[in-house]
């Protein structure tokens, strides 16, 4: 790691804006431990009533796909329209789809 050893680890922050919705990635921050990360997330990302729940994950614990893998991971789905739920009508009562 090139970051200074004096720097706090990086955490990714996920906030649920209201009940029924999933947590969404909102950004990242630095904190020395998980408790501090939740506190900091509360202060940095929910001070305008954006959230009802916070998750924090150490950035180094996230495994990401690499851009080089884009072709094999995502292109094969291009021509498979039958995987989309467009062949039937959704009832009006179903929200959040």
């Amino acid at each position: 790691m090139s970051a200074s050893k004096n720097e706090w680890p990086l955490w990714e922050v996920f906030v649920r804006s209201r009940q029924g919705l999933s947590h969404k990635h909102v950004g990242s921050l630095h904190a020395a431990d998980a408790t501090m990360a939740v506190n900091n997330a509360r202060d940095v990302y929910t001070r305008r009533q954006e959230g009802t729940s916070i998750w924090v994950v150490k950035a180094e614990d996230i495994t990401a796909s690499t851009p080089a893998e884009k072709d094999i991971l995502f292109d094969p789905a291009n021509d498979k329209v039958y995987r989309h739920p467009t062949f039937y009508d959704l009832p009006d009562e179903v929200k959040n789809m």
Partner: protein, 251 residues
Amino acid sequence: MAKLGHEWILRLGDDALVLAQRLSEWCSHGPALEEDIALSNIALDLLGQARALLTLAGEREGQGRDEDALAYFRTDREFSNALLVEVPNGHFGDTIVRQMLFDQFALLRYEALAGQSAEPEVAAIAAKAVKEVRYHAAHSAQWVVRLGDGTDESHNKVQESLNVLWPYTQELFEDDAVSQACAAAGVLPLNASYHARWKEQVLAILEEATLNCPETSALLTGGREGKHTEHLSYLLAEMQVLQRTYPGAKW
């Protein structure tokens, strides 16, 4: 039952206002972006409490003074905050220890106020403040533990902060005619009555932080009757300069 004056509300408001001003000095100087925002948020919570309390105190006083008149056009001798909240910020550890000592006290006081029915307006302000101060108290306690139980350097620094700030804490639990009238009216218990609970909670935090509670007989007091340290004058000069230079100026 005799109607309580406005002084006791002013004390609550002045504690919040002066500490809000102190904490806001950290804005853009925090040790990290996240902590900078945390301290500023706490300052804004306190400022909100101060505004509600000073407005109410002004109404009770009945001389037409609003929150701005009370905040910007009183001299240091007319402020009744405890000395603890006017102590300069020092380094981050100094600020955190001061905050922890005050938060633990403020929480007990607001909880008592939120639970009484003799003064419903203050109970409403206190009920809102309790939620805010619970967070402040958790934040400052966690930091005291982090620094106290951290490196040798951080431990020594906050132990020194504690040694310097401890003599200011006794004043919080003193009683005089104003607090005795509040107790008689069933609004607030005597300040002395929550000293034991405060000390128990503070000692628990200090123990987790591996810090020693200072043994001192020194007692610094006088804030409630307007006898302040010189530091308050400088704080007020900065806070009041605009309104005193351009009275009634608005953003």
